[in-house]
Amino acid sequence: MMRISAAVLILTLIADLISQAAGVSPPGKPRLTSCRSPEKETFTCWWEPGDDGGLPTTYALYYRLENTETVKECPDYKTAGENSCFFDKNATSLWVNYNITVVATNALGRNISEPVEVDVVYIVQPNTPENVKAVVIHEDRDPFVKVSWDKPRTADTRSGWITLHYQLRVKQEEDKEWVEYDAERQKNYNVFSLHSDREYMVQVRCKPDHGFWSEWTQTTYVKMPNYIPRERSLWIMITIFSVFIVFILTWMLKVKHNSVKLCLLPPVPGPKIKGFDKQLLKSGKSEEVFNSLVIPGFPPTTDYDDLLVEYLEVYDNEEQELVLDGKDLSEDSMKSKSPSDSDSGRGSCDSRTLLLDKCMEGSGNDQHNYSQHGETSWASSSECSESQGSPGSPESTDGRMKTWPVVFSSPQPHHHYQVGATKPAYHSVPEILKHSPSHAIPSNYHQLYLQDIPPQEGRFTKPPCRHSQSYNQFNMDNVDISEAGVPPSRSLEYVEVQRVNPENILLLRPLSDPNREPEGSDRIDEDYSKVKEVTSNNTLLLQRETSHQVVNDYSQDFESYADQCTAQQTPHPCKPVMTQLHSQDMRVMGNGYVDTTVLMPLYKQF
């Protein structure tokens, strides 16, 4: 037994070796690769044969329907090609599982493949779409490609047995990736955004509701023409956007019209002159225009006469004293006055030429005590005054009083103010003082103290001309003259300058003073020239005094003038005023009162 089995074993091995040496063997195991149904009516299965073992091998496909025991063999091995089995319509049952196996048989043996369960409805893979066409469409817009195709011939989509979905893909020859488009159930599709002058490849495939995608069709080539792309939509958007922006800007400009105008074209300030009316100028009447410029009251031309202080009027009352204090008065009067506007003349008390009326009103004096002060135009040399600053421009500071020769009257008695450092140099306020009789001056006299005004605080470049100051400070000493018979009420009285004492003090004496010195007796006489004789030629010969202490230069001028006067035939008075000047001139020592109005024409020349 042992030897038989051993022998069999050895023979088998030898047979195998021989067969291997001969190259024959039982077939290898075949394998079913796929089963497909193109239209859900038939299907085909393919298998892969294994090693044939060197011997002719036959393959048989057997199938068994679900829940049956019958094994059937493939009805058609030919139709589908090599190693395939085609199931026709009769052999195809839907919704039924097929158990399919393939058996390979050769001389040495047979081999069975693994079984495969197949349900036809799940293995549907349609054929490729047919008749694919790609056409370039030229219309109003940019050219595009319209791809059209037909369904695969075998698929029965008309009865609804199969529903197919289509898909196409496009690319250029040189591109790597395809661009896929889904066409759903349509059989055509428009492809846009293709580049001009290029050649494109197009392919189409389809798929049933439940199943596999078909194979791609053969490539269809389409050439895009050479066209200029008109990107209309972009330009439309740009246009609309810019129009929108323009609208917004216009609306904003309209809303902010004024502020923009202000920013771009700032208003140019026009010239303005107070009181200047352009309309008048346009009308051409220059007179009216310039008249409107004239501010009433400035320059105070009408009051010019008041500026000519002919005399100092001193009002005497028994208990009252006229105290003229520049410092105090200026402040008082200034306080009472309303501030004047900046661009008009100061006028009144501020001005260099003092307006007596305004001063008197502003000062609020008592009725009795006021004196009129005028700027003494005694200036012997006007150069001094002019060098002391422009008199026409009042300072607009607190010391506005300071720059002007303001003379005010105040009822304050017994004030002796000297022009201090704060006072303007040339503003002299005569101050009437109550003077003690120790001065040995007649009580009726008012003493005007000529005092040199101390130099100011550098407001002026030149020190005031001491010896010939324009404005002198007068300290009027109000001597008690109440018993002089001066009416207690306010009344004007003239005073005459008696003499100038060596201390530069003007001694005044009222005209109505009965205690006049006898020197004034011939005052009247000496107001006028005496007529010496009348010549035969009807010429008046005037008497001329030779013993004068006048300034020689003056006298000579007038002498010549007087000669001319005398030589005239006409009997008209030959300006006796001049003669009077000649005689009186600067000699103020009681020969008569100083008529400053006479002097004015002379000073005008300066």
Partner: protein, 164 residues
């Protein structure tokens, strides 16, 4: 609920057939295309009604699994609801197309047909059974779809829907 491939053999060998086998439904296109509209509609209705209870059962069993995905559960429920709607639609079609009045209820099918009576087999067996159930359901719904599509075509264009 992945069923290992060797178990497929188990499923087939177990002879688990879909319960709808009891209904003689033609399996080829030619046969089906020769079926009348009435038959198509009734078949659909029958199919719909036969699957109502099994879907309910499926929901309960899927809940019992610990690692059943939520998508599966939600889908099962959703399908169950859709089935109800489908039944109502078919009833309407039968009434309109066939002029027949039919009550829409799931009491028609036989309870004996359903083998799911409160038995809770072990997990693997239950999984296999559920898997099989879903497979059958998929097939039957495909049948319904096909029938309805045929009906639709017949309604729109009778000539084109004739068998070629």
């Amino acid at each position: 609920m992945f069923v290992p491939y060797p178990l497929h053999v188990l499923i087939n060998q177990a002879g688990n057939t879909c319960h709808s086998k009891h209904i003689p439904i033609p399996t080829s296109k030619s046969e089906i295309q020769q079926i009348s509209d009435s038959w198509l509609l009734h078949s659909v209705l029958f199919l719909v009604q036969s699957w109502m209870e099994p879907l309910l059962y499926l929901q309960t069993t899927l809940d019992r699994y610990d690692d059943a995905p939520n998508a599966l559960l939600s889908k099962t429920k959703w399908v169950s609801d859709k089935l109800l709607s489908l039944e109502q639609g078919v009833v309407v079609l039968i009434r309109k197309m066939l002029d027949e009045g039919i009550m829409a209820s799931s009491t028609i099918f036989d309870h004996t047909q359903s083998p799911y009576d409160g038995q809770f087999p072990e997990v693997l067996e239950s999984v296999i059974r559920d898997y099989h159930l879903l497979t059958c359901f998929k097939k039957d719904t495909h049948k319904m779809e096909t029938f309805l599509k045929l009906l639709k075509c017949r309604q729109s264009n009778k000539l084109s829907c004739l068998p070629q």
